[in-house]
């Protein structure tokens, strides 16, 4: 304790006096002690079946998403440390309108679910990629990569056309959102902190930039991912899923219900096809809407986006994506199904 406080004392420039001030370190210790003391009480409180289910779903969502988030922040750190902004500029077409579909297709190369693509998109913006292009990548990557498409093909053995329909629907969502942002988007909606560059100082190695960027992104995005997990778990027990699934048998109502279900269930894009295929009471079109909306916008993703790009961004971007994704899914469905 003395060693750390010494170091803290030396490093505390600009943080105000430490003496007599409670820092997060003390708060953390207090919380941990409290949690240990109250463990039995906590376990007792959580002993209702509903709460147990919610707790399990919460841990499951967090645990399942963490490896993908770690993968995402490593790529984000690597971009910050090893990819100069000029290289990205050379790689992408000059005109944003052309770069948007290119970025959408580039999503094929990031085999992960949606948690991985948020930190990567943010780092792309910070390296000078136009926001519209980075956002198009953000929306496309979780839905059009090979792992997700193979999972969809395996799940929908009966209806192989679901695979191209999903691919086109998701890509269309990403590209349309990119173009919409080019036309209407305002840079000030994105929080200033999201675009702030890691300060390059003399004597700081690339390795340090890489690990520090990854660590910083992990801490920030991880917190919001957990928040998203809380919402997903709450909705899982509070929303009468069975009732919603039967409602969906009518085609128009089905599309709307399934779109909302995709948002609140916050499934991993590698697993949602298996859930969709088991909803046999529904026609294919609402299930396609479920598969296209889910990776583009859900509660977990909304929390991540709000944390990464700021609330005023997420409040505009998520609803717009929701509408565009439904329209794109319907268009793709009309062609393929």
């Amino acid at each position: 304790m003395t060693i750390t406080s010494e170091i803290r004392g030396r490093r505390s420039s600009g943080r105000g006096p430490l003496r007599g001030k409670v820092t997060s370190l003390e708060v953390l210790c207090l919380l941990l002690v409290l949690a240990l003391v109250l463990q039995d009480w906590l376990v007792g409180v959580l002993d209702a079946p509903q709460l147990r289910t919610a707790a399990t779903v919460f841990v499951a969502v967090c645990v399942q998403a963490m490896p993908f988030l770690v993968f995402g922040v490593l790529i984000s750190g690597a971009i910050a440390a090893f990819v100069p902004a000029s290289a990205l500029r050379r790689l992408l077409p000059k005109r944003t309108a052309l770069a948007v579909p290119v970025a959408g297709l580039a999503g094929v190369a990031l085999p992960g679910c949606e948690c991985a693509s948020v930190p990567v998109a943010r780092r792309l913006m910070q390296q000078g990629v136009p926001p519209a292009v980075a956002l198009s990548f953000l929306l496309a990557a979780p839905a059009v990569n090979p792992i997700v498409l193979v999972a969809t093909a395996v799940a929908f053995r009966d209806a192989p056309m679901m695979v191209p329909a999903r691919f086109v629907g998701s890509l269309l969502t990403a590209v349309v959102m990119g173009w919409l942002w080019t036309r209407f988007g305002k840079a000030e909606w994105i929080a200033e902190r999201a675009l702030r560059k890691f300060e390059e100082r003399e004597g700081v190695s690339r390795w340090t930039v890489f690990t520090e960027t990854a660590r910083h992104d992990l801490v920030e995005a991880g917190g919001f991912l957990v928040l998203g997990g809380v919402f997903a778990a709450a909705f899982n027990v509070l929303v009468p899923t069975a009732w919603m699934e039967t409602l969906g048998a009518q085609i128009v109502l089905g599309v709307i219900v399934m779109a909302f279900l995709a948002v609140i269930l916050a499934l991993c894009s590698e697993a949602d096809a298996f859930v969709a295929v088991s909803m046999t009471a529904l026609p294919l079109l609402p299930r396609l809407v479920f598969l296209v909306v889910g990776p583009a916008v859900d509660v977990k993703l909304f929390a991540l986006q709000a944390g990464t790009f700021g609330k005023s961004f997420a409040l505009r971007f998520a609803p717009a994506t929701f509408v565009v994704a439904i329209a794109s899914a319907l268009a793709a469905g009309a062609v393929f199904l």
Binding site: I3, T4, I7, R8, R11, G14, T23, S24, L25, V27, L36, V43, P49, Q50, R52, T53, A55, T56, V57, F58, V59, A60, C62, V63, Q64, M66, P67, V70, L74, A151, A155, D158, T208, T211, E212, R215, L218, E220, G222, G223, F224, V226, L227, V230, A232, N236, V237, P240, A242, E245, L265, C268, E270, A271, D272, F274, V275, V277, S278, T280
Partner: protein, 237 residues
């Protein structure tokens, strides 16, 4: 939040992931295939935090490698404490009867396009997974299961005066669990079994009981039912 606190939280979270993956506890939440990814993620978290701590310890006043963006303005990292506490203190159990009753999805229906079914093994009692049993009763028109004694493993679930032996199928994590269930009828004393009790049931299918009207939930005439210990991996895939 202070940088030191963030590092401690990262180490705790990484430790939680490692604990889950080394103790089979992870099987309550995700599929077995995710184990190497969980170990890698936990190790990388601890490594990143460890590097930052080492860097801070070495840093002198002159060379301060890095300072937090936003100077403690962000409170979101506090959320990282929630999964840590949930894993170490509460360790939520695998999903059970409560989840089965939440959804009318039936995971076993997805296999209907499989062309034909392999012949059932010989023997007086055939052990089958719930998924295979339900799929066969729903889609195998040859009636190969009629008059055969099967042995099923699952937990007891109840809804609307019916008692089921049920299991959950997951394809990625517990959030996407879909129920598979078989209604029990006849004797054997399943009425006295508590909900969520794991059991081994032997019996015969009621031919033609898995139809569209019953949402393809077959009925099993129970001959024998015995409680068993909860298996390590409770989910079917």
């Amino acid at each position: 939040m202070r940088r030191e606190t963030q590092n401690i939280l990262l180490i705790l979270l990484g430790g939680a992931l490692l604990k889950l993956s080394f103790t089979d506890m992870y099987l309550r939440y995700v599929k077995a295939g995710l184990q190497p990814l969980l170990i890698a993620a936990g190790a990388i978290m601890i490594l990143l935090a460890g590097l930052a701590i080492v860097r801070d310890l070495r840093a002198t006043k002159e060379v301060e490698v890095h300072d937090d963006h936003g100077h403690g303005s962000s409170r979101s990292p506090w959320m990282l404490l929630l999964p840590v506490l949930a894993v170490f203190l509460i360790a939520p159990p695998a999903l059970g009867a409560d989840t089965v009753n939440r959804s009318d999805r039936n995971a076993a229906q997805e296999s209907k396009s499989l062309n034909g079914f392999a012949a059932l093994p010989e023997g007086a009692v055939i052990p089958l997974s719930l998924g295979e049993f339900v799929t066969r009763t729903a889609w195998d028109d040859s009636g190969s299961l009629d008059d055969r004694v099967v042995k099923l493993t699952g937990f007891v679930a109840r809804k609307n005066d019916s008692t089921y032996v049920a299991r959950l199928a997951i394809s990625c994590c517990a959030a996407d669990a879909s129920p598979i269930k078989v209604r029990m009828t006849g004797g054997g004393g399943f009425d006295s079994m508590p909900t969520d009790q794991w059991v081994e049931v032997t019996g015969k299918v009621v031919p033609g009981s898995a139809t569209k009207e019953t949402a393809y939930v077959p009925t099993l005439t129970v001959a024998e039912i015995a409680p068993i210990a909860t298996p390590v991996d409770t989910y079917e895939s």
